[in-house]
Amino acid sequence: MSDLWTVVWKEWRDSIFPGGKIEYLRPLVFITFLGIVLPFVDRQGWLALSGAMVFASVFFPYFYILNYIGDAFAGERERHTLETLLASRISDRAILLGKVIATVSYIWGMTVLASLLGLVIVNLAKGPGPWAFYTPVSGWAAVLVAGMLACLLAASGGILVSLHSATTRQAQQTLLLGSLALFVVIFFTARALPSQWFRGMSPSQIFLVALLVMALLDALLLGIAMASFRRSRLLLK
């Protein structure tokens, strides 16, 4: 556990907040869009979990994470820090999971923060009256869980790609193409599924099934990444 925390600590210091002004601009842009601009535009629909709210809360973090995760191994390789890290006592599992946890906790943390800020913005925008909350609350929680699973999906896939990429740029290009391919597959699969499968299911139940599928995909990608983590392979890449 302490190894995991060590890698998370290192990732936060080295990759997420290394001290330049640009590193503070990125979360600011994220929170401004997801926590201020979009809720202000959508108003009550935002609190009623409109399509725009669900879409933004799931896909915004997904694409944001792609910005960071490609750097996880490929960046260390480029900066010549990977070899020394691999020569230390820290376990394979701690290195890999630590990088995933650091990135997911950062982006998902910002998503939750933006969601709470959106609540404040909508209430301020609607003027005097009793404060409204996300309705239903369970739906809001489900959207946050979906956001987290989307982060984990991007992070698991991203770490797998980063493991096998020589440079961050290569990793990011692969991730972008991979994401486009994934969405095309999801779109056509959803259209191809027999409609009777969903007959009698409420939108909430369909959403839960989608969450379950995403969780399974996350676990699968993370498992593949862990299985393909070989120090010798990383060293010789």
């Binding site: 302490s2 190894d3 060590t6 600590w9 290192k10 210091r13 080295d14 290394p18 001290g19 330049g20 900066r79 010549h80 820090t81 070899e83 020394t84 890290l85 691999l86 020569a87 230390s88 006592r89 820290i90 376990s91 120090r231 010798s232 060293l235 010789l236």
Partner: protein
């Protein structure tokens, strides 16, 4: 006899058709600086990777601190420090954070980490700049910090892969001095990869010479000089005629003669004495102003070994 800290038996590693390490059998005693000498591409870095368990050997076996590199690589890495080909510093982090990270990795307590950071950075004259991001530092400073990181958790054995490569002579000498002082103070065993022969001569109690993955010779620099080197005498003067040169060549203790700018360079066999040769020259009518005897340097030995290996 104490167990060597590093032992390899017929250790080999191939990459496709290339034999990076070829049948390496070696024993490194504890408490010394062991220099692993070889030209670029000789297999030095691959050997360190094999010893740290970062690469699997194709054949053979190795033990580091008694741990098998194939099955106990984690234990080896937990008990060793390493400064590999690159400094491996996180340049966007401060010097203090770089050391703190490795203290955390090696599970040192917060108090121990703090005191160790102060101790090492003070020793290396870097304490005042501990809060700076490393990317603002000179290469020499970074390398000193990387050495500090390698010994931070007080390992009994550290691997250094060409720590002064690419440095100017002044910076290299300064780093060497720091390295020697730290090693002496910490009592750590060092496996030092280098192609810098001055470095090996100054720091190493034992050296191994490797070329094309093959270990050519192991011993102390003095032993190597005795086994592969030779003595020579340089005579300055005038009147060194062809007849004198022929007489000298006929002497059994003379291995070779070269004449350069009024100087005679006589290569001697074994522990031959100089005085009879000087007498012969003077009696033959030449004038001798100075006769100076010298021993082969480690560089001479190294070059001889490289030449021999190339001819094989």
């Amino acid at each position: 006899m104490p167990e060597p800290i590093i032992r390899t038996e017929h250790l080999s590693r191939t990459f496709g058709e290339v034999k990076a390490v070829d049948d390496l059998s070696l024993a490194v005693p504890a408490g010394i600086v062991f220099g692993f000498l070889g030209p670029n591409g000789a297999g030095k870095t691959t050997t360190i990777h094999l010893l740290l368990g970062l690469l699997e050997p194709t054949l053979g076996q190795a033990w580091v601190l008694g741990f098998d590199t194939r099955t106990q690589a984690g234990e080896i890495r937990a008990h060793c420090g390493a400064l590999l080909e690159f400094s491996g510093l996180y340049e966007r982090m401060t010097a203090e954070d770089n050391l703190d990270l490795y203290g955390r990795i090696y599970q040192m307590s917060s108090l121990d980490r703090k005191s160790r950071i102060k101790e090492l950075l003070t020793h290396l004259d870097l304490w005042e700049r501990r809060k700076e991001q490393v990317n603002k530092w000179s290469r020499g400073m970074k390398q000193k910090l990387a050495v500090a990181r390698a010994i931070f958790h007080r390992p009994p054995l550290i691997f250094l892969d060409e720590p002064t490569a690419g440095f100017d002579p002044v910076a290299a000498a300064a780093l060497r001095a720091d390295l020697a002082a730290l090693v002496a103070r910490e009592g750590v065993t060092v496996f030092l990869n280098t192609h810098n022969l001055t470095e090996a001569e100054k720091l190493c109690a034992q050296v191994g010479v490797i070329r094309n993955g093959k270990l050519l010779m192991v011993g102390s620099p003095d032993e190597l000089r005795t086994r592969k080197g030779s003595s020579h005498v340089e005579i300055t003067g005038q009147g060194f005629t062809g007849q004198i040169l022929a007489s000298l060549r006929a002497r059994p203790e003379v291995a070779g003669i070269e004449q350069q700018d009024g100087r005679l360079l006589i290569e001697l066999r074994g522990e031959a004495r100089t005085a009879p040769l000087v007498s012969l020259i003077v009696q033959s009518g030449a004038e001798v102003e100075e006769a100076r005897r010298g021993e082969s340097s480690l560089e001479d030995v190294f070059l001889t070994l490289m030449k021999e290996n190339k001819n094989e």
